[in-house]
Symmetry: C2
Subunit: 158 residues, 2 copies
């Protein structure tokens, strides 16, 4: 009986671990999707505003800026549950474990990202290509700041 009870506990524990792992993997999959969607939209703005301003299309840049702001305002914090630094979404998470120990710095970089993304949305609506370029640069700095602090560097980083 003792053996059966112990076995049952081991199985129950393994099942719980498996369920927790799935939830964490799902969070990582969603956050990788959110940032990839934002990255695609950033690439469109970079292309039309920085690299090839002769192709500038106001409506497309507004749509891209709306998308980046939507990502920033979507409540990404819910996708950073404990243990998600060890989880695998579409690919293994690059989140550094210290993310969970540096609450104040996390709030700071997240707030900066939100602020600059919302400002880019406003500036894009004006259609002023110079102002959009400047604001897009400010947004990029907040991305880099978070990556430098909380993302593991790897060979295929994009």
């Amino acid at each position: 009986m003792k053996f059966k009870l112990a076995l049952a506990l081991v199985i129950a524990s393994a099942n719980t671990a498996a369920i927790a792992g799935q939830a964490e993997d799902q969070q990582v999959k969603f956050r990788q999707s959110a940032y990839s969607f934002a990255a695609w939209n950033c690439s469109k703005i970079k292309n039309q505003v920085v690299e090839h301003p002769e192709t500038f299309n106001k409506d497309q840049v507004i749509a891209a800026a709306n998308s980046i702001a939507a990502v920033a305002n979507s409540g990404l914090g819910a996708l950073y549950g404990p243990g998600t630094d060890q989880a695998t979404g579409w690919k293994k998470s690059r989140l550094k474990p210290e993310f969970f120990d540096k609450h104040d710095e996390v709030v700071k970089v997240a707030t900066a990202f939100n602020k600059e993304a919302n400002e880019l949305q406003k500036v894009a609506a004006t259609g002023d290509i110079g102002a959009i370029k400047t604001q897009f640069g400010k947004l990029g700095e907040t991305c880099k700041s978070c990556h430098d602090s909380f993302r593991v560097k790897d060979a295929d980083a994009k």
Copy 2:
């Protein structure tokens, strides 16, 4: 000389194919990310409006509806280049090859998705939970309609 020329042509052709493949894989990765980001936001609305209306949070539902509308308005058509039915993003594309032969039907389902997503964004802003539920149902029908016509059914479909 003839052999060298033929070899050079084969290599050039292989390189072109490899580059085209990368571009198609990138398109599929971005569109899988866009739809996954939309799916996450749909799951939040489903949870707060359909399954657990006692947890309804107006600001969160507005943010989710904004995100879905941003995806719908982001110019997803640019991610459906020729050959992307055979490409692999985060995973193999489930796009049916006939997508490329049924232009009118594609325009119809894409237009319906945009219309209902934009309407959901408007309705969400009112905070009327009953109206949001109704409109969310209409949006879901456009998702299903496109999946039925243009997405391969598979065992791990989500």
